[in-house]
């Protein structure tokens, strides 16, 4: 029944499984059950035995252990996954839209000659068809795609509940021999670099005032800072603000920044791209200020206003004085 199996590609940094792995396992379980197949998880690394004990959400762990898989290595991972799938065929391969998943999904699709659906927020089986909904245009539109047979599905990080796939205890672990290609990779992984600690740890704050591109200029940051101080919190931002070097990387929320879950998240001039949402969707209260009524942030916020942030913030400061 291999044809109905689902393979989840586990993600980890230094052996610590990423949250998204559990999100994929939850979705993978639903797909495997619907197809009457097994849910397997590929665990690629070096000395990864510990991690398997958190993968109880799967029926089997297919593990490849090799020195070249010590850090995240796109070329080695793709070669290892092709080997895993040759020995243990699966109809649906689940990767994620993270930095790691981006290097795997399209490469696997080409190597295995199967279609890829990316940015999927959900997926289900309709008879023989796999039907998936992708979030495109920064979350402004959804596209429903259907494929028959084998495929690779790249799932949006943060779109599915991790709790559904988080089961402690190790399932059966099957070792898959590393393919010879791993010894002759052209790409060389040199080292991992941890970010320097910031002045403020935004993951620990109760209140976050997040500024997006709508803040327009570095000169307007003090206004946001004043508001954060008045509310007893800190300022964080979307990626473009950090790319402009207006704030340090340690203040960035989202896919390539930090995941935060404060009690209150006030988003000022943030559009709500999936890469941002992924980092803040679990905040207790989300209030969005955005002049564009169709901004995707309003899909995720609890309260919203289309007032100009340059009107709302001064009025708020006035209130809090």
């Amino acid at each position: 029944m291999s044809a109905s199996n689902v393979l989840v590609v586990a993600e980890h940094l230094d052996g610590v499984l990423a949250e998204v792995t559990f999100e994929l396992l939850g979705l993978g379980r639903a797909l495997a059950s619907a197809a009457g197949g097994k849910l397997e998880v590929a665990l690629l690394g070096s000395g990864m035995d510990q991690a398997a004990s958190h993968l109880g959400g799967a029926d089997r762990v297919l593990s490849v252990d090799h020195a070249s898989l010590r850090g995240f290595h796109p070329e080695a991972c793709v070669a290892a996954l092709v080997q895993v799938l040759t020995e243990h065929p699966a109809r649906t391969v689940l990767t994620s839209t993270t930095s790691m998943g981006m290097d795997l999904a399209a490469a696997l699709a080409v190597r295995l000659q199967r279609p890829l659906i990316a940015y999927a927020q959900d997926a289900r089986l309709e008879g023989d068809l796999l039907v998936a909904t992708s979030q495109l245009y920064g979350g402004k539109l959804l596209v429903e795609s259907a494929v028959e047979g084998d495929c690779v599905l790249s799932v949006l990080a943060g779109a599915n509940p991790a709790a559904a796939g988080r089961v402690d205890g190790s399932p059966e672990v099957v070792a898959v021999a590393a393919p010879a290609a791993l010894a002759s990779c052209r790409l060389q992984w040199l080292e991992q670099i941890k970010p320097p600690a910031g002045d403020v740890d935004i993951t620990q704050e109760t209140v976050l005032v997040c500024v997006g591109r709508g803040i327009e200029s570095e000169d307007n940051l003090p206004m946001a800072q004043e508001l954060a101080t008045a509310l007893g919190g800190a300022v964080c931002s979307s990626r473009p603000i950090v790319d402009n070097k207006w704030l340090p990387k340690t203040r960035q929320v989202g896919k390539s920044g930090l995941r935060v879950a404060p009690k209150v998240y006030l988003a000022l001039g943030v559009s709500g791209a999936p890469e941002h949402i992924e980092g803040m969707k679990d905040a207790g209260l989300i209030v969005a200020v955005n002049t564009d009524a169709t901004a995707p942030i309003f899909e995720h916020a609890h309260y919203g206003t289309t007032e100009d942030l340059f009107d709302v913030v001064p009025a708020l400061l006035e209130r809090l004085r």
């Binding site: 940015y119 960035q252 009690k263 919203g304 009107d311």
Partner: protein
């Protein structure tokens, strides 16, 4: 080293995204297109590398209305050669586009191919990774801080939480650029106009590959989300309500 940069025109998200009559696609005619912001970063990084190490920068785009202007703009910024890839549907899927670029690149000398890390309209994965896989050369996505040292390329890849990894690779390689070392430069409009009059674009015609994109069932706007409750009233009313909500949820301090 010689650098190739494919650039993509994408709908401007500031505009309303209109759908076609049967809801199977965007109404492409009703949209304004602009260069994908990450392509601007890829081009900037390519120009910076050329300025530091020599070599050349070639930009490529699929033929569509706005492609000429985007290509001339790249020339005005300092690219050496601009190629319009013809013979293929401008709104094609990413895998089909990857096949077209593979064919077009047979006539282009390059060591390093820089793409933008992603585009907002891409349902089939990143072109850079697809293309690298078709060309059977290595690829790395989410890249910043590229440098050349003799014959090798060193780069950083970004992970969640600001973690980076450093890699080294000998060409050829495809890198998906997340952000250039500095904000993308502007091309003076006068220079673009002048080039449009004086310079010409190269054209490479490719045989249109068969479309292998997964079937699109429908395109629709998200409405299923829980949706925010929109605050009513004057600016002062809105501010008062936000203050009240925030203080209530923040809890005692």
């Amino acid at each position: 080293m010689n650098i190739a940069v494919p650039i993509k025109l994408v709908p401007d998200l500031v505009e309303e995204l209109e759908l076609n009559d049967d809801g199977s696609d965007l109404d492409h005619d009703a949209l304004t297109y602009k260069i994908n912001e990450f392509c601007d970063h890829a081009l900037e990084e390519a120009l910076q590398l050329k300025e530091a190490h020599g070599g050349s920068v070639t930009v490529l785009a699929l033929d569509r209305d706005e492609a000429d202007k985007a290509l001339f703009t790249a020339l005005a910024k300092g690219a050496d050669r601009a190629i319009k890839v013809t013979g293929i549907d401008e709104n094609t899927g990413t895998l089909t586009a990857a096949h077209a670029f593979r064919a077009a690149l047979a006539g282009v000398e390059f060591d390093v191919l820089l793409t933008g890390v992603q585009a907002p309209d891409d349902r089939e994965g990143q072109l850079g990774v697809l293309l690298a896989s078709l060309l059977e050369i290595p690829h790395v996505s989410a890249v910043s801080e590229v440098s050349f040292d003799g014959g090798t390329v060193t780069l950083h890849k970004e992970f969640a939480g600001g973690v980076l990894a450093r890699y080294q690779v000998a060409p050829k390689v495809v890198l998906g650029i997340q952000s250039a070392r500095q904000a993308p430069r502007y091309a003076p409009v006068s220079r673009v106009r002048q080039l449009m009059k004086e310079a010409s674009l190269d054209e490479i015609e490719v045989e249109s590959p068969t479309n292998t994109s997964p079937e699109v069932r429908r395109v629709f706007r998200p409405t299923a989300g829980r949706g925010a409750e929109m605050l009513a009233g004057t600016t002062e009313d809105v501010a008062a309500r936000i203050a009240e909500l925030v203080l209530a949820h923040r809890g005692a301090r």
